[in-house]
């Protein structure tokens, strides 16, 4: 690998909490990870496994128990704090909710390590802050108050602040935690885009700006999004952290390990997770295409094991009559029509309950 590309190296890192009285509470021992420019890295793992702790170690908010985090082959500690602030920026899980704080002022705070003792914003600082807001698509929000915008918008503003800080590396702790599904995808997609873009124009020489883009590391427990957008996944398992392209982790059956001891399993073909269900009863299903697929999903949710085209047991036929779809339940000699999957499922649920009551 091109040595110059290797911006972040984590060598034999041990993380956890040091305590004076008891022995150290080590979460992970011997972590070895790398990060390169132009990469969006997703740190994935269960809740409470230590994602934030690892990130805090990377950005120097917490001391490693042993080992080191190297940026450009220099340990975090050897950087002066203002030098480091020009290299790595951070978005934490804290919600910044300050009345009367303008969006633009918050973004311009990112210029902190670049301005003088009084924090005087020069034209260049103003230009970079404006450009940062543009890059996250929030230009029209510049004069709004930070506590008057939505969670997704606020997260974009926080990201703009890191862009104004103008660092090669951006670290984000759970940037999608409070967001709804569309916003989650948009934020991660934005991060992906930013990791590929050149640094802010002008002022910096080509080497400094780095044509290859930024290294962006974010923690999440949204595996689906991570798989779709991240260039690399740092997968936190119970006793080790494995890195690789999401596709490699899928093909090597590593991604499945994250949910051992849970009711989830990973569907390698579809690329998503599903609940392992205990099927209690078999049911036959006749039908075609998308109606078949979704009816099958509904039946599985209700606890049935679906057998295609089995007429010998209780079964359901999906048919089109007069342009509308009908579901016909055939149970021995009884036949009943339903207009929606919902009606069908209510009927099946009542049946199940009756049979349980009879027992």
């Amino acid at each position: 690998m091109d040595k110059q590309n290797n911006i972040l190296k984590i060598c034999d890192l041990g993380i956890g909490y040091q305590s004076k009285r008891a022995s150290n509470n080590i979460l992970f021992d011997r972590i070895n990870l790398t990060g390169n420019s132009g990469e969006l890295i997703a740190l994935v793992g269960k809740n409470g496994i230590g994602k934030s702790t690892l990130l805090r170690n990377i950005i120097g908010l917490q001391e490693p128990i042993h080992g080191s985090v190297l940026f450009y082959d220099k340990p975090v500690k050897s950087y002066h704090r203002s030098e480091f602030a020009k290299l790595v920026s951070f978005v934490s899980t804290e919600i910044v909710n300050i009345s009367n704080l303008k969006v633009f002022d918050l973004v311009a705070l990112g210029r902190f390590p670049h301005t003088n003792w009084f924090g005087k914003l020069k034209p260049n600082d103003l230009m970079r802050s404006t450009r940062a807001l543009e890059m996250v698509g929030m230009s029209s929000y510049a004069k709004k108050n930070i506590n008057e915008i939505s969670d997704g918008e606020r997260q974009r503003v926080m990201i703009a602040r890191t862009l104004a800080q103008d660092t090669k590396i951006i670290v984000l702790d759970e940037p999608t935690a409070f967001l709804d599904l569309p916003n989650k995808y948009e934020i991660v997609h934005l991060l992906n885009k930013l990791s590929k873009e050149e640094n802010l124009p002008d002022g910096l020489s080509a080497e400094q700006a780095g044509k290859a883009g930024k290294t962006i590391i974010f923690s999440t427990h949204d595996l689906n999004i991570a798989i779709q957008e991240a260039d690399k996944i740092w997968l936190m398992l119970d006793d080790e952290i494995i890195e690789g392209a999401p596709e490699d982790l899928i093909l090597n059956e590593i991604l499945n390990k994250i949910f051992t001891n849970t009711n989830l399993s990973f569907d390698k073909l579809k690329g998503d997770f599903r609940m392992k269900r205990k099927h209690t009863e078999k049911i036959g299903l006749f039908g075609e295409g998308i109606y078949y697929t979704w009816t099958k999903k509904a039946l599985e949710r209700l606890g049935y094991s679906v057998e295609k085209g089995n007429e010998s047991i209780k079964n359901i036929k999906i048919e089109f009559r007069n342009d509308s779809c009908k579901w016909t339940l055939i149970d021995g000699v009884k036949m009943e029509d339903f207009n929606s999957i919902y009606d069908l499922s209510i009927h099946l649920k009542i049946q199940t309950r009756l049979s349980i009551d009879r027992l």
Partner: protein, 345 residues
Amino acid sequence: MLQKKHIILIWLLLSFILIVLFITDVFLGSVNIPVKEVLKVLFTGETNHPEYLTIIYKFRIPKALTALFAGFALSVSGLQMQTVFKNPLAGPYVLGISAGASLGVAILVMGVSTFTVVSQFGVLGNWMVVIAAWLGSGLILFLILAISVRVKDIMTILILGIMFGSATSAIVNILQYFSNESMLKAFIVWTMGSLGGVSSAQLKVLIPSVVIGLLITFLSLKLLNAMLVGENYAKSMGLNIRLSRFLVFFSTSLLAGSVTAFCGPIGFIGIAVPHIARMVFKTANHKTLLPGSMIFGGIILLLSDIISQLPGQERTLPINSITALVGIPVVIWIIIRNQKLTSVS
């Protein structure tokens, strides 16, 4: 969003109000001096009544200056504490900083010596009082700071601050119990707060202390703005947290401690005024809020002093009661407006 023109207009208006209140405050007092004579003394320094000259220079102007500088100091210390603690209800009075200063003074007045002995030292005695107050307020601030390193929850810190304040008051009460009548009276009058009791000799200590405190705050503007978003963010932007905390706590002790030393504990200016400044200037930027809090602090304390003179009467009310009556509605308004209290400062 306020236009630049509006902001300049607001500043001009506020400055005008401040000047008018200052002159009014000089005009008011237990002796009636005609307005014409007051203006004559203020602008020409001459009058046909030498006693007016004495009253104005020895009592009225020191009193008005005290109100002005105490207003600056208390509101700026409140502003800084609200930012550092990320809490809209923080202030020197609420967090027990004033109580700490009281303890320092109480120990000096009732424990170590008597008021008479202290006052015999002249300027040196004044320094002793102010240093005792600094130490007292610094002690409480240090305790709160030490706890805030371990306890992250701001509400807990606030409650602990209130506890420290109560404990300090309890110790002061015990000291009162063991002190003799004259010392007790001196101390109780002091706790009621008084702007008029500050002599020009004491002003020579008060004003430089406040000016130094304000200068430190001016130098910390960038740090304060960064601390607004929380310490983790501030650190990630390269802020030296230890230095910043030290600067803020040092200047806060200096500001709140000095005022408390000479005027007694004056409540609710520190907590209420920064909110008024935020409301009027609609910003969280300390570059505006610092001068904004100063001017509103000066205005409100001068106004409180004018009210306490009970125009036309010979008595004066304790300034602390007036500031409480002026400040408490603002505090209630803050609590009702952001009931969650998560919305910082």
